[in-house]
Amino acid sequence: MAYGTWRIPRSRANQVIADYESGQLALSEALEALGGSSRPPLQEAETAPLSRERLRQLLTELDSLVGLEHVKDTVREIFAFLYMQQRRRDCGLRTEPVVLHMVFKGNPGTGKTTVARIMAKMFREAGLLEKGHLVEVERADLVGEYIGHTAQKTREQIRRAMGGVLFIDEAYSLARGGDKDFGREAIDCLVKHMEDHRNRFIAVIAGYEREMEWFLRTNPGLPSRFPIHLTFSDYDVSQLVEIAKRMAWERQYRLSPEAELKLRRLAAEAKARAAWGEPFSNARWVRNLMERAMRRHAVRLFEAVTVSREQMMRLEAADLEEGGAP
């Protein structure tokens, strides 16, 4: 087909011409847009939209997260596959369109949202998504109040997510209300749009592992439409400590050795309680603890007349105190 030689999507070309026709563009601008958008793919072929170096760069941000080895491996697999697809296409081999809708399973605070955000950016830079933004929604954003309202709300959210990632947190709650609940309508609408706009947005459904398994079982069409499953395991104690240290480092605080020991003890206790069924929110627990520590640090030094730079940065064991949110 002649379009192939231009390497410009038909819709884009038609858009440019329509813009020209309605008087929004000068002719040379229209030609530039037609030629200009035919040029980037050519350049891309040279610089390769997914060169190996670029991929490594993209992966470094993900690699900088603590733990999550399994997740990192899977993401690496996905991007290696995308890269291979592209190389195969260059050689004229057959390539399948890639479906990238994903399920994120894991306990609270295990980095589901963070990873989704990073991946959205990676997909954009790899040329799979136009914008690469993340739209975070929950049940209340999708489910309406009366019949017909749900599809409308869901469609609106999907429209917002076009060109990016639609991240549905606690997605299992869509199926929890029983047969009369409008949540089912939201699921049906979502599934329909996922098929229709396969290349334009990526849906990520996230939630706790057990609930998500149950959710995927309730609707027979769901598991096959989310081919990628990522399981976010809980952090162990040393990973929690590592997260705390990085968090402190980013805000220009340091943990004293005693504080670190105490943090280790607190984390071990919290995890032990979590094993008995008490809620534990992993990295979020660490963040809350650290933010509280910074406040206590400020109170402790409130009365001091002169505070050295070192003191201002140093969090002591006494600052670390559990309390408040789990």
Partner: protein
């Protein structure tokens, strides 16, 4: 059906080129297929001579796409393709809406054509060069429009630039300028009036047909 599109600025000599080139290729009973912007198709039987008198000349504007069926021998058979004359392109944005529609139609056809023959008035380029002095650029005869079209065309296998009006004295300088500016192999000197240079154009069209 494959299509070879003749495009370029207004008054570059597109219509005359089409008529003469068709004649060169042995078209006698000229049945023109005219595609209007409103989507209507019309068949007009106008002989090449009459068409030349009617459509070509100063101040004439081609409206819509005028196509002639041309036949090129290839192997044992004959390949036929449309030779399409288009509305002349102009740079300015404040054109009347129907002219705009005509040009948009040209652009659409451009995306679907296998061969693009970009006609440039080489004599006007030469004249503008002479006026602009040594280092000047030939504004008015070779502008952004042609620049973009050429840049666009370089990615397309079927694109050639026809430096027209080579029978005029200034055209030589214009041709030299165009050859320097673009890929030399993609610039073919022709004269639509005298019918020179058509052999190369035919070879190009034949290759792409």
């Amino acid at each position: 059906m494959k299509r070879s599109l003749v495009m370029g600025r207004s008054n570059a000599g597109k219509t005359l080129f089409c008529i003469q080139f068709a004649r060169y290729l042995g078209v006698r009973d000229a049945e023109w297929l005219v595609e209007r912007t409103d989507g209507t198709l019309e068949r007009q039987r106008i002989s090449l001579d009459t068409a030349r008198q009617l459509w070509s000349g100063d101040g004439q504007r081609t409206r819509g796409l005028h196509s002639l069926m041309i036949e090129l021998p290839r192997g044992k058979g004959v390949r036929s393709l449309w030779l399409t004359d288009t509305t002349g392109l102009r740079e300015d944005i404040d054109e009347s809406p129907d002219l705009r529609a005509d040009m948009a139609q040209t652009l659409r056809a451009m995306l679907e054509s296998q061969v693009i023959l970009h006609v440039v008035d080489a004599s006007a380029v030469g004249r503008a060069l002479a006026e602009a002095g040594r280092d000047g650029s030939p504004t008015g005869a070779w502008g952004d429009l042609d620049e973009q079209l050429a840049a666009f065309g370089m990615a397309h296998a079927g694109y050639v630039l026809l430096a027209n009006k080579m029978d005029l004295p200034e055209a030589r300088a214009g041709l030299a300028y165009l050859r320097k500016r673009l890929d030399k192999r993609r610039v073919l000197p022709v004269s639509a009036r005298c019918g020179t240079g058509f052999r190369e154009v035919k070879q190009h069209v034949w290759r792409m047909a």
